[in-house]
């Protein structure tokens, strides 16, 4: 509610204690029961929104930001990554397998555990995702194309990037960068990187891959 003064006090008027107190109580009540009508548009800064911990989930409807399972600091000397979820050091092991998605792992061996970015959202949240890294193709005997893709909860995001190298005697290397915006529903989220070689016989590997997710929950 808005507070609108009802009693008009004029100079020289006879003081009415009850009226005066009613006005005070009405004003006080307006402040105690703050609602959207008492808040000026654009008056709340994003940094004042509360974290949706257990004790204040009741108030999480419009003002929460994403709870995160902090994966790794995005910057070695900075503060905690308040807004950015980050996973560094993802590998796609060297493989000659073609036409099959090879998902990111924690090391250069195919037997190494999967390495992905996992977090939980409590409200439907727009996310910006990106992944970048380097592709190596040793001893290419023919033109080689590698398709890279971000997977969200096991499904390809639908925005692949294909990079390629020509035939070369040594190890060819090139860089890839994926960028994707998506709205994720509440729940557990798993973001992975995967790459797939097309039909050429050469092997490939992806190294120094990083995956990041930036949520824009309110």
């Amino acid at each position: 509610m808005h507070y609108v003064k009802k009693e008009i006090f004029v100079p020289g008027g006879v003081a009415d204690a009850d009226t005066l107190m009613r006005e005070f109580y009405r004003a006080s009540g307006a402040e105690i029961s703050l609602d959207q009508n008492n808040i000026k548009d654009n008056s709340i800064n994003y940094s004042t929104t509360v974290d949706p911990g257990d004790e204040n989930l009741h108030y999480a409807r419009a003002t929460t930001r994403t709870t995160t399972d902090q994966s790794q600091s995005v910057f070695p000397v900075g503060p905690t990554t308040q807004y950015i979820l980050y996973r560094e050091g993802v590998f796609v092991p060297t493989t000659t397998v073609a036409e099959r998605w090879i998902h990111g792992r924690s090391g250069p061996l195919i037997s190494d555990p999967s390495l992905y970015l996992e977090f939980e959202t409590v409200v439907t949240t727009p996310f910006m995702l990106y992944a970048s890294g380097n592709i190596a193709v040793p001893g290419t005997t023919s033109r080689t194309a590698i398709t890279c893709e971000i997977f969200i909860n096991g499904e390809p995001s639908g925005v692949p990037v294909t990079v390629g190298v020509e035939a070369n005697a040594g190890t060819s290397k090139t860089h890839f960068c994926l960028f994707h915006q998506v709205v994720l529903p509440p729940g557990r989220q798993v973001v992975e990187f995967a790459a797939m070689k097309l039909v050429t016989p050469n092997s490939f590997a992806a190294t120094e891959v990083n995956i990041a997710a930036i949520g824009f929950a309110r």
């Binding site: 003081a15 009415d16 204690a17 009850d18 005066l20 107190m21 005070f24 006080s28 402040e31 105690i32 029961s33 703050l34 609602d35 959207q36 808040i39 000026k40 548009d41 654009n42 008056s43 709340i44 800064n45 994003y46 940094s47 204040n56 009741h58 108030y59 409807r61 419009a62 995005v74 910057f75 900075g78 503060p79 990554t81 308040q82 807004y83 950015i84 727009p126 990106y130 970048s132 380097n134 190298v165 020509e166 070369n168 005697a169 040594g170 190890t171 060819s172 290397k173 090139t174 860089h175 960068c177 960028f179 190294t207 120094e208 990083n210 990041a212 930036i214 949520g215 824009f216 309110r218």
Partner: protein, 174 residues
């Protein structure tokens, strides 16, 4: 927050008490989250949200820069970029890579924030291969300014060029 004094009929009203009552109503800046009705805050109340990426600056260095054994600074040395401390910073790097006649190149294109190398792109392509290079990097600012630079680390014959490198810096006021 409450009305400080109850003024009853017949009271000899003290101006100080009336003033105190008014003063007690000015404590609206003491409102805590428990006093805000659930769901009452709408996005229209929020002045700045993290999807409001604002382009802070574009660092460019137009030209053609041949690779070399060692470090070649492409962008750097200028004043640090003002950002919103504790807010997100998004860096988008763009450049053209051109292979020159010769064997495989060996180019490491490095993005640094301050003295820390945060991303390295390894490019080793043949003489006929060109690349429209781009990469992104995001971090949480921890100072009012951050120096952002781009360089090449070449370890072999300089048979490549980097053309028209650009760094676009976006930020969010948290």
């Amino acid at each position: 927050m409450s009305v400080a004094h109850k003024i009853k009929p017949g009271d000899a009203v003290s101006a100080a008490e009336v003033t105190a009552n008014f003063s007690s109503l000015t404590t609206i800046n003491q409102v805590g989250r428990l006093q805000i009705e659930a769901g009452s805050i709408d996005t229209r109340h929020i002045s700045s949200t993290p999807d409001d990426w604002k382009e802070i600056t574009v660092l460019t260095n137009p030209g053609t820069y041949p690779g070399a054994a060692g470090v070649v600074v492409l962008i750097g040395g200028g004043p640090p970029v003002p950002v919103h401390n504790t807010g997100m910073v998004l860096i988008v790097v763009k450049a053209q890579y051109k292979g020159l006649p010769g064997g495989l190149t060996d180019c490491r294109l490095r993005l640094s924030v301050g003295a820390t190398n945060v991303r390295t792109a390894a490019i080793a392509l043949g003489p006929s291969e060109d690349l429209a290079f781009s990469t992104v990097y995001a971090f949480t600012a921890f100072a009012a300014t951050h120096a952002i630079s781009l360089d090449i680390l070449g370890t072999a014959a300089p048979n490549f060029q980097i053309i028209d490198p650009e760094i676009h810096v976006y930020a969010v006021r948290g």
